[in-house]
C-alpha cells in the first residue's frame, strides 16, 4: 500500500484552501495532520478519500491516480454518521455485499472487538458519542481497509472516552497493520499516536513541518521527550 500526494491544491470559488501539498504515506504508518481549525485538514483528507475530486495535482493510491472512493480506503468522520434508521448491527454490516454466515461471523467478531457486544439491536439514537464512534470504526473495519482516514474522530468526545478510543486505534493498527491518517487539532493526541506529525499552516493550508516521532509504541502520555516535541510544535504554530 502506498498513498502519494503530489503538488495538491484545492480551491473553493477562488479561495485556496490547501496549496502545494506533497506527502507520501508509507504502509502501516500512523500519520497525524495537525493544524488550527479551518486550515484545510478536512479538505486534504477528503481528497485522499476520493470523495472530493475537484483538485489540482495528483493523489495516487498504489501508484495509480485516485478516481473515486475505493474499498481499500475507509473514512471515519467527526460525527459517526451511523444511519439512524438502522440498528448497530445493520450499520456495521452496511458496507458488506453478502450476508453469508461467514460474513456475519466476521461482523460479530468486530462488534466484540470494538466493545459493542449486547448493543447490536440498539438504534443510533440510544448510543453515547463514544459508542457511536466505536460502531463507525467497526463499520469501516469489517470492510478490511488498508488505509483508515480519520477526521477528528474523537474531538466531540469526553476526555476519558477519547483516551480509550485512542488505545483502540493503536490496538487495531498493531493487529491489522492498518495505515492510519488522522486529522486532529489536539497536539497530545498526535504525540501519543503518530509516527509522523504533519503540521499545516493556515490560509492557505500548506505543510509547514513534518516531525518524526521516534519514540516506540506504548508511549507514556506525559513523557519528557513528548513534552519537548510539544514545545517544538507550539513554536512552529506560533502559539
Amino acid at each position: 500500500m502506498s498513498l502519494t500526494v503530489d503538488r495538491l491544491t484545492r480551491t473553493f470559488n477562488g479561495m485556496t484552501a490547501i496549496k502545494d501539498i506533497d506527502l507520501k504515506v508509507q504502509n502501516g504508518e500512523f500519520v497525524c495532520l495537525l493544524g488550527k481549525g479551518g486550515c484545510g485538514k478536512s479538505t486534504l483528507l477528503r481528497t485522499l478519500s476520493g470523495l472530493d475530486l475537484d483538485y489540482e495535482g495528483t493523489v495516487s493510491y498504489n501508484a495509480t491516480p485516485l478516481t473515486g472512493v475505493r474499498e481499500e480506503i475507509g473514512i471515519i468522520f467527526q460525527e459517526s454518521r451511523l444511519l439512524p434508521w438502522l440498528t448497530v448491527l445493520e450499520n456495521i454490516r452496511f458496507g458488506l455485499k453478502d450476508h453469508e454466515q461467514e460474513t456475519l461471523n466476521r461482523v460479530n467478531r468486530f462488534i466484540e472487538y470494538v466493545g459493542l457486544t449486547g448493543k447490536e439491536k440498539l438504534y443510533p439514537k440510544a448510543l453515547s458519542g463514544g459508542m457511536s464512534q466505536r460502531a463507525a470504526i467497526a463499520r469501516s473495519l469489517v470492510c478490511d481497509p488498508e488505509v483508515l482516514l480519520l477526521d477528528e474522530p474523537f474531538s466531540a468526545l469526553d476526555h476519558f472516552t477519547k483516551l480509550e478510543l485512542q488505545d483502540l486505534l493503536l490496538k487495531i493498527q498493531a493487529k491489522y497493520n492498518t495505515t492510519m491518517v488522522m486529522v486532529t487539532h489536539d497536539i497530545d493526541e498526535a504525540l501519543y499516536l503518530a509516527d509522523r506529525i504533519v503540521v499545516l499552516s493556515s490560509q492557505p493550508g500548506m505543510i509547514k513541518d513534518i516531525i518524526d516521532i521516534n519514540s516506540p509504541r506504548q508511549r507514556t502520555r506525559t513523557s519528557q521527550d513528548l513534552q519537548q516535541v510539544k514545545k517544538e510544535i507550539l513554536t512552529i504554530l506560533h502559539v
Binding site: L51, P84, W85, Y123, S128, T161, E164
Partner: protein
C-alpha cells in the same frame, strides 16, 4: 463510558400508580377540557341561554345522531364521504409520489415541470371546482378529482423537499461504502425521506377532508357534506352539528391511524416530541 440519559422535559402526571396504560392516561388528560366545555354548553342550553333552534344542547345533538343512526340514514352518508376521501387520497398521493420522484431525481425534469407545479400551487384549489364540474359533471369523478388535487400539493411539496434536501452526510456514507445508484436510493434516500412523506400525507389527508366538504356542498345526494346542506335547508342545527362532529371524529381517527403507522416506521427518529399526544 458516559451514558446518556434521555430525560423528558415534560412533567409527567403520576397516574401510573393507579394502574392505567399510557394511552388511556393520555386520553383521560386530553378529554378533561372538552368535557368541561360540553357540560357548560349543556347547562347553558338547559337554562335557555342558547335558543334551541340556533344552538341545540349537546344531549339533543346526541339524540339526533342516535335517531339518524337508527333510521339507517347515517351510515350510508359516512360511507359515501369516507369512500370519496379514500379514493381521492390514494390518487392524489400516487400522483404526488410519482411526480416528486421524477422531479427530485432528474434535474432536467425539475427545471421543466416544477415551475409549473409551483405556479399551479398558487391557485387556491377550490377555484378549480367550477371547472371540474363543467368538465366532469356533479358526479363522483369531479368530487374525487377535487379531493385528489387537494391531497396532491402537500404530498408533492413535502416529498420533493425531502428528496432534494437529503443530507449530504448520508449520501457520502453510501458513496464511501460503494453503493450502486439503486442501493443509494433504496438504502439511503428512501428512509431519509420517509419523515417528509408522512408530514405530506398527514397534511394531505386533512386537506382531503376539507375538499370533500366543498365537493359535497356543491351538490351531492349523500355524504356528510350533504347532511350539512340538508340541515341548513330544513333549519335543523342538530343535523349540522351531528355532521360536524362526525367529521371531527373521522378526521381524528384516520389521522391517528396514519400517525400510528408513522410511529411504527419512524421509531428510529431521535425526536423527543414524537409520540406524545398531539
Amino acid at each position: 463510558m458516559a451514558k446518556e440519559v434521555n430525560q423528558s422535559i415534560y412533567p409527567t402526571i403520576q397516574l401510573n400508580k393507579i394502574g392505567v396504560t399510557p394511552l388511556i392516561k393520555r386520553l383521560m388528560i386530553s378529554s378533561v377540557f372538552p368535557v368541561i366545555i360540553i357540560l357548560i354548553w349543556e347547562v347553558l342550553s338547559q337554562i335557555g341561554v342558547f335558543e334551541s333552534y340556533q344552538l341545540p344542547a349537546p344531549s339533543a345533538v346526541l339524540f339526533k345522531g342516535i335517531a339518524l343512526y337508527q333510521s339507517g340514514e347515517l351510515l350510508p352518508h359516512i360511507v359515501a364521504t369516507f369512500t370519496r376521501v379514500t379514493i381521492g387520497f390514494v390518487f392524489g398521493t400516487g400522483a404526488a409520489v410519482i411526480l416528486s420522484v421524477l422531479v427530485g431525481f432528474w434535474p432536467l425534469l425539475e427545471k421543466f415541470i416544477d415551475p409549473t407545479i409551483q405556479a399551479l400551487r398558487q391557485i387556491p384549489s377550490l377555484a378549480w371546482v367550477p371547472l371540474f364540474i363543467l368538465w366532469m359533471g356533479i358526479g363522483e369523478t369531479s368530487k374525487v378529482t377535487m379531493i385528489a388535487v387537494g391531497v396532491f400539493f402537500p404530498v408533492y411539496l413535502n416529498l420533493l423537499a425531502g428528496i432534494v434536501t437529503v443530507d449530504r452526510k448520508w449520501l457520502e456514507v453510501g458513496k464511501v461504502f460503494g453503493l450502486s445508484k439503486r442501493s443509494q436510493i433504496t438504502k439511503i434516500i428512501l428512509p431519509a425521506v420517509l419523515p417528509s412523506f408522512f408530514t405530506g400525507i398527514r397534511t394531505g389527508l386533512g386537506l382531503g377532508f376539507m375538499f370533500v366538504v366543498a365537493a359535497e356542498l356543491m351538490g351531492a345526494s349523500e355524504g356528510l357534506g350533504y347532511l350539512l346542506v340538508l340541515g341548513q335547508n330544513t333549519l335543523q342545527p342538530d343535523t349540522i352539528l351531528v355532521s360536524i362532529i362526525l367529521f371531527a371524529i373521522i378526521g381524528k381517527v384516520t389521522d391517528g391511524g396514519l400517525k400510528l403507522v408513522e410511529q411504527r416506521l419512524l421509531h428510529w427518529q431521535d425526536t423527543e416530541i414524537r409520540g406524545r399526544s398531539k
